[in-house]
Symmetry: C2
DNA sequence: CTTTTCATGTTGATATTGTCTACATAAGGA
DNA sequence: TCCTTATGTAGACAATATCAACATGAAAAG
């Protein structure tokens, strides 16, 4: 499972017997199917059939469907960390506060660009994080990117001083919750279109920063 | 499915053939099993076996396992609405703002008292809300309790004036996200115990109300 | 009181799946 | 060249979802 990553120089002219890139093919096919189906509706046998290998083949790469989904979730967290680090932005803000603002926006942007990953990443029910150590690590790494940023901003007196972890949990939760509801279309009655999303994120950010109360 | 609710005066001295209360028994047994298992690990046949009926019996009440879970989620939203209305509190605050504060706390309290329901309610992956109209309705009803309250507070100048729906989404998201992470033990590294939960909710509430920024 | 109807439960059959074991193939190192 | 090992195949078994045909009894209809 570990050596699988640096396996095979992808013998493109796929011979009959060995697929050559089954692991990746499984991940891609799963991603493709998840656009139309729930994880519950997937099966390893069906995946194998679609790819054109025998029903036993997938087990050489993943012990279970859950493990496969966990791999996708982990991949998601790595990409997510990239977003939060602003590595995926065309232009990065340089000042601390604008950078923080950008991070919040990137959070949501990730969820919209990688909705399937996002759902897998934050759905305990499908993938038990405790069961997959690497996945758990990847998640915590991403969180710490936010937490470190918050800590710095608090130290610089730009954000109110609280336990930075608690504050980060607040931010993480808010954004995570918002994205979840967005993706699950649980906010369908809001009739959100592309433009309005930015407006709502903006309102969100303002709420986070300025609070709801009139008087302090 | 509709008549099933006002079915049968629960013939307690259960005869051999008819169970008499299978629908409720299925819901209860499922709830019991979900304390130790993921929804994915359940099966209708297993449920039937545990209750002592044949493997076909459950289909008379639920067309699928998902429908059964949807029923539980719907039940959850009804209870949730009760919490948000403060009907479950021993003593209700009378002033608007304390009432609002209490509502926020009740939100989290519900998630801790009904974690299984909560997870089902907010997990699109397991139960597709679009597929179950009643469930969707119940969810929106609960949301509107919050939204109405927010609208009033804004009208009274107690909360900053925004689109009340957008503000409600912010609150709902924050609390929902927080609870999700709590229940999924994704915040395990915080080492949360009973007392600390209240402290964190408190911090949460303050953050929501006062915002993160130093200057407004 | 008798008959009929219908919701509820049973039984059996079929297709699909997860999972295990034994075997086949090929690619690379000794 | 031979051997080891990763990868894929084939077959078997138990469990499941799902459907259809049938059984039962409670309540309505007469």
């Amino acid at each position: 499972m570990r050596g699988a990553r640096l396996r095979k120089k992808s013998n493109q002219n796929t011979k009959d017997y060995h697929h050559g890139n089954l692991r990746d093919a499984l991940l891609k096919e799963t991603l493709k199917l998840l656009k139309k189906k729930n994880p519950t509706e997937l099966s390893l046998r069906d995946l194998a059939r679609r790819i054109g290998v025998s029903h036993g083949a997938p087990y050489r790469h993943f012990p279970s469907l859950n493990a496969l989904l966990a791999a996708l979730a982990e991949e998601g967290f790595h990409i997510f960390a990239d977003f939060l680090s602003l590595n995926r932005s065309e232009q990065q803000q340089s000042e601390p506060l604008p950078r923080f603002r950008q991070m919040a926006f990137e959070f949501v942007r990730f969820s919209l660009q990688f909705p399937i990953h996002f759902r897998l990443m934050f759905t305990q029910v499908v993938v038990d994080h405790e069961e997959f150590e690497d996945l758990k690590q990847a998640g915590e790494t991403a969180f710490r990117i936010l937490a470190d940023s918050v800590g710095n901003l608090q130290a610089q007196g730009i954000l109110r001083v609280h336990d930075p972890i608690v504050t980060s949990v607040f931010i993480w939760s808010s954004l995570h919750g918002f994205c979840s509801l967005l993706l699950d279309q649980r906010l369908g009655f809001l009739d959100i279109d592309e433009n309005k999303v930015d407006t709502i994120i903006e309102a969100f950010y303002q709420n986070m920063m300025d609070g709801l109360a009139v008087v302090k």
